[in-house]
């Protein structure tokens, strides 16, 4: 999705002038969509008294030490690592398990193929709200309530459908000739999966990795129901908790927000096109 070389209006001053309302609109929307994040970034480097004195001023002195304080004293370090452990593990599991299922569905004819596909893809229309209450009971019974392991498994189950859906669409387009040739060369089934489907499927795997990473890093509903102990909280829960207990400490809350959005911004700066593609993958026809 690269912008085509549209007819540039730059050569034509009249056209330029006629377009100025449009350009003004675009400028305003840019401020509206990006401004709030800049504002938080500025606030994260200011102390709460400074912010209350003048909420929209630039930092008079840059307080980097607030990040250290947030990380250690306000427990954001714990939240950050919990989020990292949960998201990295869940995304890794989703990618490998999802690819295995997608490979089978895209490649093999077997009895029960349609049933398996129906069962897995039915997850696309099952809202979390339908499962969350009984998952609460079930995790209590399995002794997985209030554990990161429990949350990871729930995340894997909940996001398998979209992962398989995206990967299968891609895997199905890999030419069958490749697999016939590999079979003739004596590759085993698992070698075919490992040495042909996965390497060729890397772009699709990137797509699902970014999609799952963003959604799980931001996930709130499952986490708020399944985790209650402070040292288990993920970042979204930690921020909510901090907001509940220190509502007036706007400066420290802003620092916490920056810790939560930092990794996302960093990845977005590095892989913006992949991330846009990933986030919209399920919706583009």
């Amino acid at each position: 999705m690269i912008a085509p070389a549209a007819k540039s209006p730059a050569h034509n001053w009249a056209a330029h002038l006629r377009r100025s309302p449009l350009l003004a609109f675009m400028l305003i929307y840019t401020v509206i969509s990006g401004g709030p994040f800049l504002w938080v970034a500025v606030m994260s480097l200011r102390t709460t008294p400074e912010i209350f004195a003048s909420p929209y001023a630039l930092p008079s002195r840059v307080h980097w030490e607030k990040f250290v304080e947030a990380w250690t004293k306000s427990n954001y370090g714990t939240y950050f690592w919990n989020s990292t452990i949960v998201v990295v593990t869940a995304v890794a599991l989703l990618t490998i398990i999802g690819a295995m299922v997608a490979h089978c569905l895209a490649r093999y004819r077997f009895r029960g193929n349609r049933l398996v596909r129906f069962v897995i893809l039915s997850g696309l229309i099952l809202p979390p709200q339908l499962m969350i209450l009984s998952l609460f009971q079930i995790l209590l019974e399995y002794r997985l309530y209030n554990t990161l392991t429990g949350l990871i498994i729930v995340y894997v189950a909940g996001h398998l459908a979209i992962t398989v859906y995206i990967l299968e669409g891609f895997f199905a387009q890999i030419p069958q000739d490749l697999f016939d040739a590999a079979r003739l060369d004596g590759y085993s089934d698992l070698e075919i999966f490992w040495r042909i489907t996965l390497p060729i499927g890397v772009p699709a795997l990137f797509t699902t990795v970014t999609l799952n990473f963003i959604i799980l890093w931001n996930e709130f509903l499952y986490a708020v129901v399944l985790l209650t102990e402070d040292d288990k909280r993920t970042l979204p829960l930690g921020i909510m908790h901090f907001m509940g207990s220190h509502q007036l400490d706007v400066g420290m809350l802003a620092t916490g927000l920056m810790i939560a959005i930092g990794p996302v911004i960093l990845l977005y700066a590095l892989f913006s096109e992949t991330m846009i593609k990933g986030m919209t993958a399920g919706a583009v026809r």
């Binding site: 990006g34 339908l130 209450l133 009984s134 498994i153 909940g158 459908a161 709130f220 583009v284």
Partner: protein
């Protein structure tokens, strides 16, 4: 090539055709590849769903105290529960209004970029940023923006001399739902914009060029050519957006918790409250709400897919 052996030898040497058919896999392969997914699915998707249905016709108290109550939960829900109906109303308003705003706004933004404006690539990156942020981050920022004393909304109104319009945006039952909705639209506009933009770039250039030659005005071009050709995308995004908003929880929970006076209560926040916040300690009743609401959503999905013949294109 002098390898003429007895006929059974050559037959042995070439493996049976089925083993060479790359469309077939051994049972072991299938078990290894599908097993983990099916086990996780059975235990953490299918079983919970069935159990929620089972819960919905029971009263479920802590310590495994359960009693069968038949359809009593549903009768109570449909007949007596005014908060539930309030939540349904709010969710419906939210789903309808925010969906229309999302789709139209996304189209507008995409057209602005498509019209050959400068810095297209940079702008679309910036406009997409809110989509990547969590509801918690977005919610906290907008709670500040709506703050009565120092929030940006009131600060701007005062600086324009419109101080009489200042509001306690999230604290007033008349404005709370609309304020949350604005935040939600703000977060998702970029998503629709990207998809519309991709669809616009995929339009056949000769059609647009022909319209240009006919000296067709941009508005006529939009209404008669672009919008009809974007119909599948518009339909798709409308359905996707509508279904997603029927289940809205996070943003409402973070910004208002359903208050004030149930003015922002949605079905999902009400389910959560009945399960974990109220002192009823009963999981049966909220399960009944979840089941009923799921069936309604499912009916919408089935109806819309039938109506629009867009099978396999729906997801959340």
């Amino acid at each position: 090539m002098t390898n003429f052996g007895p006929f059974w030898r050559t037959a042995r040497q070439s493996p049976p055709p089925s083993a060479l058919d790359a469309r077939r896999a051994s049972r072991t392969t299938l078990i290894v590849l599908l097993g983990p997914a099916l086990v996780i699915y059975a235990a953490f998707m299918i079983y919970p769903v069935l159990r929620t249905f089972w819960n919905s016709v029971h009263v479920i108290k802590p310590h495994n105290v359960e009693a069968f109550v038949g359809l009593a939960n549903f009768k109570e829900l449909l007949g007596n529960d005014f908060i539930f109906w309030k939540a349904v109303g709010n969710t419906a308003i939210f789903a309808i209004v925010a969906t229309i705003a999302d789709v139209l706004g996304g189209l507008l933004l995409a057209l602005a970029l498509f019209s050959g404006a400068p810095f297209v690539r940079t702008l679309r990156l910036i406009w997409f940023t809110p989509v990547l942020m969590s509801y918690v981050v977005v919610g906290v920022i907008w709670v500040w923006i709506y703050d009565y004393d120092w929030g940006l909304a009131n600060v701007i109104l005062r600086s324009l001399g419109l101080g009489s319009l200042e509001q306690s945006w999230l604290g007033d039952p008349r404005t709370a739902l609309w304020s949350v909705m604005v935040t939600h639209i703000w977060k998702w506009l970029g998503f629709n914009m990207i998809i519309f933009l991709a669809a616009l770039y995929a339009l056949p250039g000769d059609v647009l060029g022909a319209a240009e030659l006919d000296n067709c005005g941009w508005f006529a071009k939009l209404v008669h050519i672009i919008i009809p050709m974007l119909r599948p995308t518009i339909v798709n995004l409308t359905v996707l957006s509508f279904i997603g908003k029927m289940m809205i929880f996070d943003l409402v929970w973070i910004m208002t918790g359903g208050g004030p006076l149930w003015s922002t209560e949605t079905v999902s926040t009400y389910v959560y409250k009945r399960a974990f916040d109220w002192n009823t300690f009963d999981l049966g009743y909220p399960s009944a709400i979840a089941v009923l609401w799921f069936l309604i959503i499912l009916a919408f999905i089935v109806a819309l897919t039938r109506l629009l013949r867009q099978r396999d294109r729906l997801e959340f």
